[in-house]
């Protein structure tokens, strides 16, 4: 997508809701279609950009590996150890971490900090499990289960806080 056409989509996304509110029903249909197209367009663009970034990252890793092999050949046996490929634990393999990362955008700022700390702890746990030689399938399930438990714990904590406030208020009134 061209950068100029992005502004067209932004324009449509802004004017779309206004049009829905202002224009009468028969004419409105004419505006809803381009608006929907705009939304789909934006989503598709984001997705394609993400894929492109992923491919570029992969290419970068390959180039690094190639450069390292060249160094290895040039220096003979006395070559530095091969740098370990950086593995991101928050990738698609760990749906639990992904779930938590998504969940943190729906909570308050204070809770978000707690969620971030939970994510970091789960990443450390996953690394520890990997060091211990736990099968990846088991690891994935364990992380998913723990993430779910964490989310439930946070929701439960929120409910408790709400109930506490409600009870305090009720006692104050009484």
């Amino acid at each position: 997508m061209n950068p100029e056409s992005k502004w067209v989509v932004v324009f449509l996304m802004i004017t779309g809701p206004i049009t829905i509110l202002v224009v009468p029903t028969p004419v409105r249909t004419l505006f809803i279609v381009p608006f929907a197209f705009g939304v789909v367009w934006v989503l598709a663009t984001v997705w394609s950009h993400k894929r492109r970034i992923g491919r570029l990252h992969e290419m970068k890793l390959r180039l690094e590996r190639l450069a390292h092999e060249v160094v290895e050949i040039m220096s003979g046996t006395a070559c530095p150890p091969r740098p370990a490929q950086k593995k991101t634990l928050g990738s698609t393999r760990y749906w639990g971490l992904r779930l938590l990362r998504t969940y943190r955008w729906f909570v308050s700022r204070e809770t978000r900090v707690d969620v971030e700390a939970s994510i970091a702890d789960l990443v450390r746990e996953a690394k520890e499990m990997r060091r211990c030689g736990v099968p990846p399938r088991v690891m994935r399930r364990a992380i998913l289960w723990r993430s779910m438990c964490s989310i439930c714990g946070i929701i439960y904590g929120g409910i408790i806080r709400l109930v506490e406030k409600a009870v305090t208020f009720w006692r104050l009134i009484r």
Partner: protein, 112 residues
């Protein structure tokens, strides 16, 4: 029920709070606390529950929090404050007193 009990004894921490307060007498990270809790009680506490409880303790000034970070992300360290220490001592005394409450009033059983 738990909430009601907690509100009735506003000065006393709940069981989970008491356990967590006891574990952060020296400064510990959330993960260390979770590990130690699992080791001592045999029950696993989720990080969500742990951090939410610590947040509640922090709001009551029973625990101080320090944030740090490493390559994996955020680390939160917790430490008991003076107020927290006082509450912990108070709770220990109260629970001890409660455990022996009414023991002397039991009628002695004679021979059948």
């Amino acid at each position: 029920m738990r909430v009601y009990t907690k509100l009735m004894n506003a000065k006393l921490p709940s069981r989970v709070e008491f356990e967590l307060l006891s574990l952060v007498i020296t400064e510990r990270s959330g993960r260390d606390v979770a590990k130690l809790h699992e080791k001592l009680t045999g029950k696993r506490m989720s990080y969500g529950t742990l951090y939410t409880t610590f947040r509640r303790l922090r709001e009551q000034d029973w625990v101080s929090v320090r944030d740090d970070a490493d390559e994996d992300g955020r680390i939160r360290f917790f430490k008991l404050t003076r107020g927290g220490q006082r509450v912990l001592d108070c709770a220990r005394t109260d629970y001890e007193a409660l455990s022996t409450f009414g023991l002397g009033t039991q009628p002695e059983r004679g021979p059948a």
